[in-house]
Amino acid sequence: MPSKNSINRPKLTTNVRSKQQKLARKRDQRERAGHFNQARSADGSRSGEARSVALDLYFGKEDTTARRDQSHRGGLTNKTLSKKRSQKIERNLKYAQKRKLLTDVQAQLENNDEDSMSVDSGNKNITRKQEIQQAKTIKNNMSLIREALWSALDDTSSQGLTLATGQGTTLGGAYFP
């Protein structure tokens, strides 16, 4: 990069760059100060809740806290989720599940002391079953819609909706409008 005083300094590039950086800094400041945020009273506001861009992306939630993102829904974004981060989230979710199972088991143990062994495996089965069940219902819904559409096609292909008995419609006349 030539120095500021050199003869072939690219004046425009540096100026534009510094201007853009300045603007970006200001914008970041404003964003950090929360000027773009929704009002706390707004419906979509998640004020006060813990906020994580990565988790939002992982669960496919749109970021409603920042209002500026609303206009770009479906457009480009600079928010990304790395593979490593998503793997970490998955791992943590697994831990959370296990922790929950543990607390469940403990609660059950406190309630009734017998058959402590069967609970563990049973619960595991249920979660797996639940997963399969969920996948099935999603599939079922889709196939239901497909079936409904097929039936609608069969119903209406035979039935004539239009009326061609009268003398029809004539518009305009023998001239060039």
């Binding site: 409904a148 004539t170 001239y175």
Partner: protein
């Protein structure tokens, strides 16, 4: 990104400036007058070339577009000079033939390219032939679209013309040889009736007590959709996605739909998802068919039908219809975007073209490298938020009458070369967006239902055309994303192109304080009986007068005719001394 505008400023811009006062109505009226005159000018040119044959060497579509834009600019010179900051073309003149639904506005330097790119399309019968050669032929359905804005108050107009074989009648006048008879006639009839009915319906919003009882008590979005769909169905037509009946405001006339999410969007839009929902509503599984995202507490950018039309608003009615009577099968009507970028060699009988109309995306900023593109961008930014063509930015625009026509065209062509260079850098950095050229396609539902869809709605199309917020997925119930739909469309051998008919008009709902009389009235800025008369057609189909909705439509028609107790609809007239039915020498222009 959202631009930071203070609350007070946004109130002034969005609310105060949109209150209908005499000054505002006058701007609307002047804009309407100029668009009416320009429409008359274009139809006059086309009649002169193809019907009266007074112009020997016919002008191509790109030349007509250029002349129409020049005409608008020259006319605008006389109005509101130095009184408003911005006035100009709201949408560059585009002339779409047959299956082209929108956006066909080639530059003059495109004529050669189009012929080179589309070497497969040579036969006279091919409906795309007219677009490629730029010369119309008998039987073509031609849609003319243009618009004018003064200080952001916009009037847009579209009108459909038919090119007839001519004959001479007993008085020696040249007349069409006969009415248009095929399926295109159905679409023209349906579109005309739907348009006139919606205009009458909006007039009813001023005096809701006059609304026919069979149509309900208030003019709502659902009612508008129901009526348009009823008319379309009885003429065996479908409403093309992209049609809309929407409120427009200052600088918000739908020109940036898909680029900018417009808050408080008010209007009815037709998309593929509505066709899907309608089909599902026909099936016996009722609980699946309730998929309305109606009831919303806050106004949003997502268009829903849940609104009431109020007085003091301005509406744009833009209806496109296609006939679907060619087959007994049911099919989805969708739009395919024409591009020049991909697959030129293997696509037979498909149009290859580049878009001539661009829209600036003001949310993007980038330091451009080429001096040419920086200069061009400055020029574009001066142009405002409305779509533009490259030729509008040239110093040799508008084309004027008192200079040599061919010299002006040659100079413009030279300017376009450097503009193309600059524009490529601007487009590559997303500073501008091409407004797409769309072709109406029909895909049988069978093919869509048979296809597997493993990714669901997750497949993302980076090149997808501009979609309204909330309507990114074309078939949400089936979970088919736009990318998947595109591949279904390409893979199905039964997919066909359909001829599109389009009418567009802008209406102002004037309360009694701004109307010309003492009664509230609907001011129709564009279209109407003077400029947008329907072409001569004869359709075998008609409205079923036993249907209660159709009875309501007939009642509306009688209300419009009744001058004393009915609805007051006033039409903006085109200016006098409009079209000099001239020859090629003066290009029929009275500038």
């Amino acid at each position: 990104m959202e631009l930071a505008v203070s609350y007070e400023d946004s109130q002034v811009l969005l609310k105060d400036k949109n209150v209908l006062q005499d000054s505002v109505v006058d701007k609307y009226r002047t804009a309407g007058q100029i668009s009416q005159t320009a429409l008359k000018y274009v139809t006059g040119l086309i009649n002169d070339i193809y019907h009266y044959k007074t112009i020997e060497t016919p002008l191509t579509i790109s030349e007509i577009c250029l002349l129409a834009d020049s005409f608008i600019i020259t006319r605008l010179e006389q109005y509101y000079k130095n009184k408003v900051n911005e006035r100009g073309i709201a949408i560059p003149t585009s002339i779409d033939v047959d299956q082209l639904a929108s956006g066909w506005s080639p530059e003059i330097d495109d004529v050669k390219n189009l012929k080179n790119w589309n070497k497969e399309i040579t036969s006279e019968e091919d409906p795309l032939n007219s677009s490629v050669t730029g010369l119309l032929k008998v039987g073509d359905v031609v849609k003319i679209t243009l618009g004018v804005h003064i200080d952001g108050y916009t009037s847009e107009v579209s009108h459909t013309m038919v090119i007839y074989p001519t004959s001479t009648n007993e008085t020696g006048a040249i007349v069409p040889a006969g009415p248009l008879l095929d399926v295109k006639a159905d679409a023209i009839a349906a579109n005309h009736i739907a348009m006139e009915t919606v205009v009458a319906l909006l007039a009813c919003a001023l005096t809701p007590e006059k609304l026919p009882a069979s149509l309900g008590t208030a003019v709502t979005g659902q009612l508008i959709r129901h009526i348009v769909n009823t008319v379309a169905r009885s003429y065996n037509c479908a409403v093309v996605p992209g049609s809309r009946v929407r409120r427009i405001r200052r600088f918000l006339a739908g020109q940036n739909e898909g680029i900018v999410a417009e808050r408080e969007y008010k209007g009815v839009v037709w998309t593929e998802s509505h066709q899907e929902a309608e089909l599902l509503a026909n099936s016996d599984v009722k609980d699946l068919a309730v998929a309305t995202n109606s009831s919303r507490s806050v106004p949003s950018a997502i268009p829903v039908d849940d609104f009431t039309v109020n007085s003091g608003e301005v509406y744009m009615i833009d209806l496109k219809m296609v006939p679907v009577g060619h087959s007994t099968k049911k099919g989805l009507v969708t739009l395919d975007v024409v591009d020049s970028a991909q697959g030129k060699s293997h696509r037979k009988n498909e149009l290859v073209a580049r878009s001539g109309i661009f829209v600036r995306d003001f949310a993007q900023s980038h330091a451009l490298k080429l001096k040419t593109s920086r200069k061009l961008l400055t020029n574009i930014d001066r142009n405002g938020v409305y779509p533009f063509k490259l030729s509008h930015l040239s110093e040799n625009f508008p084309i004027v009458q008192d200079k040599d026509y061919n010299e002006q065209i040659a100079a413009l062509d030279k300017d376009l070369k450097s503009f193309r260079l600059g524009m490529s850098e601007i487009l590559n950095n997303y500073l501008c967006v091409e407004s797409p050229i769309e072709v109406a396609k029909w895909v049988p539902w069978e093919h869509i239902l048979k296809g597997s869809n493993q990714n669901g709605a997750l497949s993302y199309d980076a090149t997808a055309t501009l979609t309204l917020p909330g309507h990114e997925v074309p078939l949400p119930k089936l979970g088919i994303a736009s990318l998947k739909l595109k591949s279904l469309m390409k893979s199905c051998p039964e997919t066909i192109d359909l001829p599109v008919v389009r009418e567009c008009t802008t209406v102002v709902l004037c309360d009694s304080d701004v109307s010309s009389g003492d009664k509230p009235e609907l001011l129709r800025l564009t279209g109407g009986s003077k400029t947008s008369q329907p072409s001569w057609i004869q359709s075998k189909l008609e409205l079923n007068s036993e249907d209660s909705t159709v009875q309501g439509i007939f009642q509306l028609a009688t209300l419009v005719k009744d001058k004393r107790f009915g609805l007051v609809i006033r039409e903006t007239q085109p200016m006098k001394q409009v079209v000099n039915q001239g020859s090629k020498e003066n290009n029929g222009m009275e500038l």
